[in-house]
């Protein structure tokens, strides 16, 4: 009982901050979507130079 209560008292934000693997996935998602995937989509849509 006592441990349960203690667990409940831990702030949700703290649980979020402490979950380094969740933070890893969030960081990866933002970077990959915002920079990498979006960038690659734009580059693949760029017209090919007539010189090629």
């Amino acid at each position: 009982m006592e441990t349960e209560e203690k667990e409940r008292r831990v702030n949700y934000w703290q649980v979020f901050y402490d979950d380094i693997f969740l933070l890893f996935f969030l960081g990866a998602a933002i970077f990959l979507i915002s920079y990498t995937i979006w960038g690659l989509i734009e580059l693949s849509a760029a017209p090919l130079s007539p010189l090629v």
Binding site: D18, A28, G39, L43
Partner: protein, 505 residues
């Protein structure tokens, strides 16, 4: 299983022998590369000093390539591996998980760095640090970089495995300590960074082998900077974790608000990687939307995080010193700070240089409009020598003065020289960075052997102020090289002749 530990007499931390050895080999290798990179730096500044101009063109580009690799990659990432093992195994007083994997990390990184060095010195990889397509190096060069990156990823895995096993086995409860949390942020960023390195360099390696007929230069640049610039964010996190550590070790300070500092690290994990985009601001392939989104919106949350850290470190140093009774006026505490402690003076140089010189210039040069006039000029190396050298390198140097007694169990040799070392190095690098940014303001190109374009149809004349600026840059560089050499000599002398500190098993 029986794990072998010793107890550090100064800190009371339990130190696992495997962790200790791995920290030692990674740190020593890092310092060797610093020495190599520093010697090359001296040749660089003596070439860019117009009246000296010591190297011929081919050697300038070749050795500049090696300078970038030795300093920006080898010195910093080897040292970061030592920091990751220290922040996990030592600070949590826990065993290092999977030591064989950590040894694999070290061997892969060492072999990779050696391959790259040999290829560059043989003149088979005059491609600069960026190795932009269509420049092509020998395939062994790319393989070396890939092996190095794989090794570094293994180091991050060992870090996470150690933190997880410490949690499972009850070595700590609740949250990680702030320093370990910062190191975890560095490790998260490192994995994402190195994955981009692999995506950029594995196809390039296959291209150099002739397996792939062609590479897309734009896609390469996009992926390369996902690696090349993001790897500097690993340094950033490691540096800030060290700031907190040095604050505690030098003046006994504690963060005023853990939540505040952790929020800043959280912002780093989420938002600090996308500013890699500012290397692509003058590239034609990407839309303005992609450029402005990545350098203008989320990036500011990462900048906010840097400011949060850079403001909180002096604040908690001030609070600690005021609590010791140095409460006179606004800056009485600063006057009474332990300026004779090389770790403290390194910390101050690191925070101030990183914030005032590197931070401000980085934000401004990374803006799309200003980038038009700063891209590929000497402003950029001026900026990143402030962040990576005054910021990261000086933080690493500062922590070395504690690592030597704690991990190598020896008293620092030549304490008077050690006291002066950060001032000489920091002053030299400050002059160097400021002068370089100043000269860059006149449009002087970076990575250029001959800014007068002597053999070209059109001659360029930047005027005497640029020549004076380049001379001042070189003088700052020479002073920094002296400070860097002092650091290496003090570290090596401590290992060889430093007085041994008695330990209990």
């Amino acid at each position: 299983m029986n794990w072998k530990f010793r107890v550090c007499p100064t800190t009371g931390l339990k130190v696992h022998d495997s962790a200790e050895t791995l920290i030692q080999v990674n740190a020593v290798t890092a310092i060797v590369f610093l020495l190599v990179g520093g010697a090359l730096a001296l040749l660089m500044v003596l070439t860019r000093w117009q009246v000296v101009h010591i190297l011929p063109a081919d050697y300038f580009y070749r050795l500049l390539t090696l300078h970038g690799i030795a300093m920006l990659v080898a010195w910093i990432i080897f040292f970061e591996m030592a920091v990751l093992y220290f922040a996990s195994a030592v600070l949590l007083s826990h065993r290092l998980a999977v030591p064989w994997l950590a040894w694999t990390q070290y061997i892969l990184m060492l072999v990779g760095a050696a391959m790259v060095t040999v290829m560059v010195l043989m003149g088979k990889a005059d491609v600069m640090f960026t190795s932009y397509i269509p420049l092509q190096a020998h395939h062994m060069y790319y393989l070396g970089v890939i092996l190095f990156a794989v090794g570094a990823i293994l180091g991050c895995i060992v870090f996470f495995a150690t933190v997880t096993s410490a949690k499972v086995e009850g070595a700590y409860e609740g949250s990680l300590s702030l320093v370990t949390y910062g190191a975890a942020a560095a490790a998260i960023i490192a994995i994402l960074t190195l994955a981009h390195g692999a995506i950029a360099l594995i196809p390039t390696w296959l291209w150099a082998l002739g397996v792939i007929p062609m590479m897309d230069p734009e896609a390469y640049i996009l992926m390369f900077w996902g690696f090349g610039h993001s790897s500097q964010q690993i340094n950033l996190c490691a540096m800030i974790a060290i700031w907190y550590l040095l604050g505690t070790l030098t003046v006994g300070s504690k963060p005023i608000s853990e939540k505040y500092c952790r929020t800043a690290f959280l912002f780093y994990i989420l938002f600090v990687l996308i500013p890699s985009e500012h290397h692509l601001l003058v590239d034609p392939g990407l839309s303005a939307a992609h450029k402005v989104w990545n350098t203008g919106y989320f990036m500011h949350l990462a900048i906010l995080a840097s400011m949060m850290h850079a403001f909180s470190v002096p604040a908690y140093v001030e609070v600690a010193l005021r609590k010791k009774g140095y409460t006179k006026g606004l800056f009485g505490w600063l006057k009474e700070a332990p300026w004779g402690n090389p770790a403290f003076s390194s910390l101050v140089f690191s925070v101030v240089g990183f914030g005032f010189l590197g931070g401000i210039s980085g934000v401004v040069y990374g803006t799309e409009q200003i980038n038009i006039i700063s891209h590929n000029t000497l402003r950029i190396p001026g900026h990143f020598h402030a962040t990576v050298v005054i910021g990261t390198t000086m933080a690493f140097m500062g922590v070395t003065y504690y690592v030597l007694p704690l991990i190598f169990k020896r008293e620092v040799a030549f304490p008077t020289a050690a006291r002066w070392q950060p001032y000489i190095y920091g002053t030299g690098m400050t002059i160097f960075s400021v002068a370089m940014m100043f000269v860059g303001g006149f449009g002087v190109p970076r990575r250029h052997w001959d800014i007068t374009a002597a053999d070209a149809v059109f001659q360029l004349n930047y005027g005497p102020v640029v020549n004076i600026g380049l001379a001042i840059t070189a003088i700052g560089g020479i002073l920094a090289a002296i400070g860097g050499l002092m650091y290496c000599l003090i570290a090596v002398a401590t290992l060889l002749i430093g007085k041994k500190i008695p330990q209990e098993a």
